[in-house]
Symmetry: D2
């Protein structure tokens, strides 16, 4: 589609939609300029990946591509694999990084990512026993790296639901390609840096030739609330728990370090010892601590193996008013800590009146919704008190997208990371601003590409 | 967009999206072949039209276009107005015919439509006091009419929620353009002819170059139930009303002659006199009677003016068990009969236990939903019994579209009559079948066009 | 509650709410007259029962009562167990019969039920290897059985979603107690007898002292559509499937014999061999055949063991256009046939374009909704065509309850079989008719009783 | 129901449900002790009141009672009107005060209310031209007033969505009756006093014989977020509006003084002049200023008549980036300021990109939902940016009710202010805690009463 022969000698700029176009997950996009190219993100489609794992089949990249758990980069690799100058990763979530394990090594190029993202990738490799063959180049947020004479990558700091998330900018002689997967515009984050609005406005004054926006919530009206709002909700719920003899369990995404920060602060405020339970906390917290971004270890226990869990849960069962436990399992993942406790598989037993705070929303895919419903049913039977949706999303909504488009003033927009109807919602928004479908806003399906003229 | 220079001498086939792309309503599409063109439908956007009427502004075509109540044909008319060979109307609903009053006369060409549709257009002109300047050519369902050497129009009979609805086929040397606004695939209609499947399959074997599908329900799973199902629901509800001393009022779309037919039959079955109340019934019923398609007048009273209404409603108030009343107002239209009765503005007063059957769904636009909610609130306060959604839709759903695409095997698909997310849903369906966005399924916005190569 | 000392010598009439009050399931009610009593239904709460089974604990009646999977009859049995003259079962669904296995034997009294319900109870006992110790008295629909001088039980035929469902009437000198668990008012059933309206009206003219209504859908407006409507939907979907080379699979509740009847008829109409796959069909069909109510065996294959399944599924995989398969698994039950096929665990593999017809709704309990979502996800990945909600419910809605109350004219109403908000909805309806809460409409919780004065 | 003859000479304690039982609105409850009684609240049912106003009928108390816009106190007044020692009003919202105008004067007794509530009642009387004949006794929050030897009224401060809201406690020799209409448990209000938890716990240690809880949100899980959360949302949205040249309009309930306070603060933060437009602001703000509770006038313009509106709106239209306008009309009320502006009836015209912040939810009654939808439709057509639900509710949810019940430890609970299903939800919650329906939690319908033994 849309390939057009032009008789210039100038190199062509082509955007290739490999994964995440028509689906939420398995993100991978290629920016090709002349005979060089850059890969943006290399993610998993978790909904399929989980089913695949359950099936017990052998986990090869070929099988995972066939099952649509990975982006299908076969055609691209065959023709252009050797042109790739770098794989740039915007942030550390699995729908952006989870494909590295299976796909990266065949590309003979480095991986460029923020220091925190880089550290998480290293830990994935170590924890899950696979070898990272690509060179890893940690690039500071708000700085640039020259990949070749023509191509420079820049990471612009942006707010999202994990640390050191970047808007990836690929500078080429034809203009810059701005890739905003994933982001929110948090004007008021309680921890860490704000979005680098100044730089975004500057980019808008220079020449943004293509914007690739994160469309996961493009169909929702309004503005995504700040992490500060989530903190204010958490504070409200936790300080309101008056009974000193009941357990308090909070659960959230392990990668949401700022949220964990808020929960620790609230634990201190209400005089409870904060204890992390569940395998995945270790990875996300220690990566941040190693980089000096946080120091949770001096304010909380971070348990990380079965023996520690067992000893602690027995103790907590006898002194349930003493702790604020933070557990994995916010999506009802079958083997996560909260689910095991709710099932009665541990030494800690929920009592009527114990408090469970879900500081998250439910990811709207069928398998996950099913798991979560089962967890809630178990908790209700224990007569626990359930507080849900104590949360603010990490993804931009309609009015945030409008702000971003107005700042960047891109020549072209290609909606990314979303289902086709979500892409359609972004088309409608862009049309309000003055873009026209097929002229300067373009819909791509996986496997398609667009040459920008 | 997508205009490409080609060096052939062969005439070009171009599809122009004038109205109904990104919105449900104001349908108008142009098929241009060489230096000739055909207009398909000329509709109103009722949601805007109603607000416009309420505003009290003078109703000119220019003001209605500015207010987006009419398709914006200005650019097309200026450049190509004199190339139009015919305006072809698929069926008589206002979102397909309502623009004729304001836009048709400037095109110096005939209007081609089925006999019933033609008759309704004449009545609109007569009733609403405007002059139809275009020649009206009634074309029988399942027949063709040659517009020029290169262009022939064919009306293929299809099922929908009013009589003599056609799939419009524009035959050109480049292949046929098939326009399915609006349709359902009813395999089992209780009255009237079935869809001409044989002809559709035949068209698929010849050469359909473009399909323009009705996307109003393309985002809904499954199959749209037959009118027979609606009849069976109606029968079930009406025969179950046991109290012989309460009023029975049914309300539905006046254009849905088959539904009215079923309601009359049920009235006969339960031994009640059937009486139509409300201005718009007259138009739709008399058009059908004049063509010999039905004979309601010998089975029901069709009241048509204030004096008749007043006399009858007084009588019905005293003998409420005697009649099955069919009233306008199924969408809560402020001046419709059912609303006036519910407000207490007539001699007929609802009593607790009177029965109201809504043989319709609620059109999902804000103004209409608001009106309907107000009506239901009035009815509930009268303690009437309310039976809602005794209805089957007239619009194809996902599996019906799949059947249609498989029968017609079009080279290209351009979703029509729908919001952008509804068009996106059709893209997803077509992709399942093997189409690719931008290659052989194309999204257009109002004002855009596509040259088919 | 509400026990009041009265100084008469007349025997007291007391209604005891044992199970199904505040919950949908585990139905059990006691009617006590003087020193005699009758138990109405003895059901399971399936949501809990399924979780219990998954837990792997030993299945004793005590454990099941503790886990709230069974009605808690301990207090009643201890004080009044020896006064029970009969256990009367209204129909054969597990939420009305599933407790017999665990609770019935300690009551030294017969079980009275319609011939079909009786036969199903026998088969449950045989299939699941437990001994039915109570004498089983099959009582024809629309006949009576004298339990004692003062108490006569009558089964009045009513429509529901399985065969020979009865409204149970307990006649006492104080008036009759009418128990309508479960029913719909189907004026037009395609098979089998209608509701015995004449008898219900007659009962209303005699003296109904208490009505215990089925409240599972009391909070829904309107009338529950006839089984005829479901048949008409099925016919519409099945006759519309045009591709002769794809599989057709229907799934519904095995107990819904009339629905199965319709599916067989449609299979014949479209010229496909009808084959039943899944263990539970055998029980419900053979019971009906043994009583001469149906003869499916001469119109369809009813497979009943693994060897038959394997042989047939291999054959069907090669000739997918030849059969209409009816499978268990409509609620996504993990080991049911449709789920196993969808998972790829059998020789039959779904192909894109195969058709799955869900002739059912989804039971709104979390575990079941989760299972069903997982099944649909599997089916969508196979690119099958899914037709959902081709169904009419078996439970009365608001307007049906109004009809029932008006026919029976009970002195008192006690909502049964429902959550507390559903009972509240019946209170609101009864109030519209003129009842007053606490005077003649009473809410009971499990474990409570009401003396009727 | 529930009237029981007892042979004591001790005075009886009787709770009479006059209004708000089975409906959200028209609140009125009577506490009768011996031959004395107290009326709690005297409210309107706004949904009906608005329709009544539209009907144009003469507004008499009798007509309003017949139309169910007022509580029906006829029977009570006839038998016990002369026993009333006081009308106690919990807070100033119309569903608690709006009946005073029509019903209070026939009771020859004072009205007791907090100073702010009292001031609002005076202003209602003055503004709407009716005479308040009862003596008004302003009683400070957290203080008591002796009505008779046996009866003392106490106002305990509680958080809600207007100022000086009280939990009303009626102390009698039989124990105290605690009436919590309306409240939330805000642990963290940004302005004004917290709930007097200490006093509530003290009451629980003394003897609460009856609790009458506000059930408007009893069917919702979790905890109602603090006003601090709403403030944090507002701050987030307002500080994020980057375009300095567009209008900002906030709309909320005029009675929510704390919310208005937050909006003013945010206006100051972003450097815009704050201007109030709409008649009802004047009443609620000036009452608070007269009592020295706030001083808005020195931080904002509070316009209050047509001339001021016209002058300002013309000015604002020319300088739209200068102001933060706070308008009435958050529920789409037909004549409110925001609606008039959106319709284009004023000198101020919305431009694409202007910002509308709805700091409220939509009240779920049909007439109001209809109005609000119409307003949003108008705003969308102007291409304004809409931010909805920037709000925290003022009504307690399930976990707040649990806290309240545990603090007060009432002997009996009678759900108030809610539909029957909402009362049912409170029954379920109380049952979890150990209450039993009919024993110590009781459902009343309007017109019923319960003697507490």
């Amino acid at each position: 589609m849309k390939k057009k022969t032009i008789k210039q000698t100038e190199p062509k700029l082509i955007i290739k939609a490999i994964g995440g176009y028509g689906v939420i997950g398995r993100n991978m996009t290629v920016v090709q300029y002349g005979d060089e190219s850059v890969i943006l993100d290399m993610g998993l489609y978790l909904n399929r990946y989980i089913s695949f794992q359950e099936s017990g089949e052998e986990m090869t990249s070929e099988a995972l591509i066939d099952d649509e758990a990975l982006p299908n980069d076969r055609k691209f690799f065959a023709k252009h694999g050797n042109t790739v100058k770098a794989i740039v990763i915007g942030h550390a979530h699995l729908d952006h990084t989870g494909g590295i394990r299976f796909l990266a090594s065949k590309y003979k190029c480095p991986i460029v990512a923020s220091p925190y993202t880089s550290r998480i990738i290293e830990k994935m490799s170590y924890d899950d026993h696979w070898q990272l063959k690509n060179k890893l180049i940690p690039l500071s947020i708000n700085s640039s790296y020259k990949l070749s004479k023509n191509i420079t990558v820049e990471l612009v700091g942006v707010t999202h639901s994990t640390l050191q998330t970047a808007i990836t900018v690929i500078h080429t002689p034809a203009g810059s390609v701005v890739y905003t997967l994933d982001y929110k515009l948090d004007n008021n984050p309680p921890f860490g840096p704000k979005t680098n609005m100044q730089r975004l406005r500057q980019l808008g004054k220079e020449h943004v030739i293509v914007l690739l926006p994160d469309c996961t919530r493009s169909d929702q009206e309004g503005h995504t609330f700040s992490e500060k709002v989530a903190r204010s909700m958490l504070k409200d719920v936790l300080l309101g728990l008056q009974d000193k003899n009941h357990a308090i369990v909070a659960t959230t995404f392990a990668s949401n370090i700022n949220r964990l920060h808020s929960i620790i602060d609230m634990g201190n405020l209400i005089g409870r010892e904060v204890v992390f339970l569940g395998r995945s906390f270790k990875r996300w917290i220690s990566a941040a601590e190693e980089l000096g971004l946080i120091n949770f270890s001096n304010q909380a226990q971070i348990l990380s193996n079965g023996r520690e869990y067992r000893r602690f849960l027995k103790e907590a069962n006898a002194n349930r008013g003493k702790y604020l436990m933070i557990m994995t399992g916010n999506q009802g993942e079958p083997n996560a800590m909260l689910v095991r406790v709710a099932k009665g598989d541990t030494a800690f037993e929920f009592m009527p009146g114990d408090n469970i705070i879900f500081s998250c929303h439910v990811i709207p895919t069928p398998m996950i919704q099913a798991n979560r419903r089962k967890l809630e049913e178990l908790l209700r039977r224990k007569k626990t008190r359930i507080f849900k949706d104590v949360h603010a999303s990490g993804h931009a909504k309609k009015e945030d997208h409008r702000d971003m488009i107005k700042m960047l003033r891109p020549e072209h927009i290609i909606p990314a990371h979303g289902t086709t109807p979500k892409h359609a919602a972004l088309v409608d928004l862009a049309s309000e601003i003055g873009y026209k479908l097929g002229e300067n806003i373009h819909l791509l399906q996986e496997g398609q590409e667009l040459e920008i003229k």
